[in-house]
């Protein structure tokens, strides 16, 4: 099997699966259980001036019967003292020397940052993660995302840290910002060795329609929480890729955001992450999920003849381009496999009401399609009008049967032409304008 070990900004880890700073990494007890389960690294719950918390702290988005599709929290950094935390970090590192142990830190003044870094170095941890991302509670005290949202401040604080840090320093970025690359560049200017992203997104998950108080409920009120879990994965992937693509940046990335299984992890790695961090999925199912992540990633890498996840890092980054560089001459149309179509007609109604009106409902007999599963007398079957199909994918996305609707590439103009090239050719008078869609 592939060797899953990675080195991230100089920190060695037996696999790329780390636990993100959060409730699962609050105590030595949890850390032991996590490492026993096989996690490669742990980012300890953020250490700083201990702060009291409220009840309740979490709320979640449900989708049908699926729980925890999205999750939000209003819990703050560690409510345990730095003494306790650093003592336990030492104990954990001594027992698990081969694993990556990173202390997440949050402070306000330069002196305070220096003090935390020094105590961290003494505790024996492998590195630090600076929490510039927490979007609730701490930001109102000038920390967390209040730092991450202001690149100048983030750079300055990173500088303070680098004045004393000897171990690698990771800056954790907040997604509550217009362009995350600016924040990443600030971290680099401040001297950081790596970045991790994304922290949680400011959110309200649900409103109680009887009490009119959103969740989580705290004595008749609520507050904006940090959103995470499977629902944020697409946002996180986008931001990870943005940073990975930035040629000026060149920092290793630890990917975070909605990772629940090896496939999610592999996608983050393919978009530029070297390690990935998990929190919500463990809060849902426990530390045991890592076993399948290790096995699944190993099997995948073996199948691709990749000897290490390092080979996978960034493999998909360059296929993300600007829209104007995409080929306008590429054509594909939907193709329905009537042998396995079950006749739900969701493709028809989605196209008819939600897209481009090019899937007709026709009589199965006169079209020669005939009857079959879900296709009965008196009930029409969906048929794609290929000439009008714009290849948008919608029908293939709503189809409940795997491989029933495929998007088939059409042989059309073999010469690619992007929007940029089109503009150039137009200006030269070398091409007639593409007529508008009727």
């Amino acid at each position: 099997m592939a060797d899953l070990s990675v080195t991230f900004a100089g920190i060695r880890s037996p696999n790329p699966f780390w636990l993100a700073s959060g409730p699962p990494t609050n105590t030595a007890y949890q850390a032991h259980r996590a490492f026993e389960a096989g996690w490669g690294g742990i980012v300890w719950k953020t250490i700083g001036d201990p702060t009291p918390n409220v009840a309740s702290r979490y709320s979640a988005l449900r989708l049908g019967t699926k729980r925890m599709v999205g999750f939000n929290n209003i819990e703050l950094i560690s409510d345990r003292s730095p003494e306790t935390n650093f003592r336990e970090l030492t104990e954990v590192k001594e027992r698990w020397p081969d694993r990556a142990l990173v202390a997440s830190l949050m402070a306000d003044t330069r002196e305070h940052w220096h003090e935390l870094i020094r105590r961290g170095e003494d505790s024996g941890v492998d590195g630090f993660e600076l929490n510039f991302g927490c979007p609730h509670g701490m930001c109102e005290r000038g920390m967390g995302s209040a730092v991450g949202q202001n690149p100048d401040v983030a750079e300055k604080i990173t500088n303070w840290v680098m004045e004393v840090a000897r171990k690698p320093v990771i800056v954790k970025l907040t997604p509550n910002i217009t362009d995350i690359v600016q924040a990443a560049r600030a971290a680099k200017r401040g001297g950081a060795n790596a970045i991790s992203l994304i922290n949680t997104i400011r959110s309200i998950t649900q409103v109680n329609l009887d009490s009119f108080v959103p969740e989580p409920y705290v004595d008749g009120a609520s507050t904006h929480g940090g959103y995470c879990g499977p629902a944020v994965k697409p946002i996180a992937l986008n931001m990870v890729q943005n940073c990975a693509q930035d040629t000026d940046l060149g920092l290793p990335i630890s990917g975070i955001g909605g990772i629940s299984d090896w496939r999610d992890a592999a996608e983050f790695i393919a978009l530029g992450a070297t390690t990935i961090q998990v929190c919500t999925a463990v809060m849902h199912h426990g530390f045991r999920i890592v076993e399948d992540m290790i096995e699944g990633l190993g099997t995948y890498l073996d199948g691709k003849s990749m000897k290490s996840p390092q080979v996978l890092v960034g493999r998909a980054v360059s296929s993300l381009r600007k829209w104007e560089d995409l080929n306008l001459n590429f054509k594909r149309v939907a193709h329905i496999d009537h042998e396995i179509c079950i006749g739900c007609n969701l493709c028809h109604i989605a196209c008819e009401d939600g897209a481009h009106q090019c899937i007709d409902l026709l009589d199965p007999e006169s079209t020669g399609i005939g009857y079959g599963p879900g296709r009965m007398k008196g009930k029409a079957v969906p048929v794609v009008r290929e000439d009008d199909c714009v290849g948008c994918n919608l029908c293939s996305l709503v189809c409940p049967v795997d491989n029933c609707i495929s998007m088939v590439e059409m042989s059309s103009n073999p010469t690619p032409m992007s929007w940029s090239q089109y503009q150039y050719l137009l200006s030269k008078g070398a091409i007639a304008p593409i007529p508008p869609h009727p």
Binding site: G64, T65, I342, G343, C344, L346, L361, P373, G378, A380
Partner: protein, 451 residues
């Protein structure tokens, strides 16, 4: 004895309803002879609007609660469910029961009595599923409806003829009350033809719907049949409904003759009520049985014995006249043998009502089977003002077919009386479909082959 299928829990109903794909122009609608908008009601359950789901069901099918229990969903809606091809169909029957039970338990009324009346009066002969189905729709269209029911309770076979483990009579009686709550009057223990003539109905009412069902169980016409121990399986099932269970006469060794669903119900019921031995004997091979395959496997699971190609020759009795057994001959190998029994239940069909029909309406056209000839889309007969549906016209089908025929008659009667084109309730999940825009299932229900 409890109903055999457990009701879904709230959470179970939620989980199952959320599995529904919400098909567009869903096959389950086409398979329902009353055209219930199945995806629409299931979506409402999924959204927590259970009473609203019940309204969708009852608007299409006033007997939604009993159909949820007695419909052979395997060959109707669930048999058509697109999820059944590779996986499990949505349990539409159980979800329908969940929704209808929800409002019954809480006493919620979802159907409204119309505020304006048309001034037209319609008489319905027979208060079974067809009669109730017709009455409910006519009443909601504003017509004055009177049902003439010869029994003490309306509901027909739903009240008296359904195996107890499928449905309790209470469900049917609740439905009768629901129809009455729409303003329908039921005159009980009135025998049309005896207590009043059909001619009187025709002159007093603007239309008449004939829904008299089928008659008593047919006889074997074999030597020894008359005498103690032999009875119609329908009477046996009726006893179960009308008597305390411990008073229902059950033999030690029960023999049922027949191959239909009543035969299967009877043998299963006999075994479930404690008969040490219960045997069903059918003249033909198993694949020729008109009973549903799943009912047959239920009977097997209840330890009933099933004999095939067994043609009865003679009912045997002791010198004292007590039933001792039935002599059979095997249809292919010609061997004869005796099946001992002390109770014989005959389930070879019900007598047609041709005599009663002819006495009521001498010029009413019947087919060679003694059933009323009706137009499949309107339930019209050859006589003006006279419509017919249910078993007396279709020869004996499901409850849901009877309700559908009653409904079609109601729409046609409404058109005849008011001149307005009858449009069944729009099936909202089919909104925008070209053909038929409304009433899919009702007009040409699609049915999966039984075997």
């Amino acid at each position: 004895m409890e109903e055999m299928t457990d009701p879904l829990s709230d959470q179970g109903a939620l989980a199952e309803s959320q599995r529904c794909l919400y098909c567009y122009d869903a096959p389950c609608i086409h398979a329902c002879p009353t055209g219930i908008d199945v995806p629409a009601f299931i979506k409402k359950i999924a959204n927590g609007e259970v009473a609203s789901a019940a309204k969708t069901i009852l608007t299409a099918n006033i007997l939604g609660a009993s159909c949820a229990r007695v419909c052979p969903t395997e060959v109707l809606c669930e048999g058509a469910c697109v999820l059944g091809h590779e996986y499990e169909p949505i349990p539409i029957g159980r979800l329908q029961r969940h929704a209808t039970d929800f409002i019954t338990k809480r006493g919620i009324s979802v159907l409204k009595k119309p505020t304006e009346t048309s001034g037209f009066r319609v008489a319905i002969i027979g208060g079974g599923p067809a009669g109730l189905g017709c009455a409910a729709d006519l009443a909601q269209l504003g017509h004055r409806v009177v049902i003439f029911e010869k029994e003490r309770d309306a509901g027909g076979l739903n009240t008296r003829g359904v195996a107890y483990y499928k449905m309790k009579p209470r469900v049917s009686l609740d439905e009768v009350r629901l129809v009455e709550s729409l303003g329908v009057e039921i005159r009980r223990e009135v025998n049309v033809g005896v207590d009043l003539s059909a001619g009187e109905l025709l002159s007093e009412y603007d239309a008449v719907f004939v829904a008299i069902g089928l008659g008593c169980g047919s006889r074997l016409n074999l030597p020894g049949e008359s005498g103690p121990g032999v009875r119609s399986a329908l009477d046996f099932i009726r006893d179960i409904h009308e008597m305390p269970l411990d008073e229902v006469a059950i033999g030690h060794s029960v023999l049922v003759i027949g191959g239909g669903n009543t035969a299967i119900d009877a043998v299963s019921q006999a075994k479930r009520l404690g008969a040490p031995s219960a045997t069903l004997a059918y003249r033909r091979k198993e694949e020729r049985m008109s009973a549903y395959a799943f009912e047959v496997s239920l009977a097997r699971a209840a330890d009933c014995r099933l004999l095939f190609q067994a043609k009865p020759l003679e009912v045997l009795r002791s010198a004292e006249g007590n039933l001792t057994g039935v002599k059979f001959v095997h249809e292919t190998n010609g061997k004869e043998w005796i099946e001992p029994c002390d109770q014989l239940l005959v389930a070879i069909g019900q007598n047609k009502q041709d005599h009663w029909l002819k006495s009521l309406f001498p010029t009413l056209e019947l087919n060679s089977q003694g059933c009323v000839i009706t137009d499949p889309l309107t339930s019209r007969t050859n006589l003006p003002k006279v419509f017919a549906g249910g078993d007396c016209a279709n020869g004996g089908k499901e409850v849901v077919n009877a309700v559908g025929e009653g409904k079609k008659a109601a729409l046609a009667i409404h058109q005849m009386l008011t001149g307005k084109t009858p449009i069944p309730t729009l099936q909202s999940s089919r909104r925008g479909i070209a053909r038929p825009p409304a009433g899919a299932g009702l007009w040409n229900p699609v049915r999966k082959p039984t075997h």
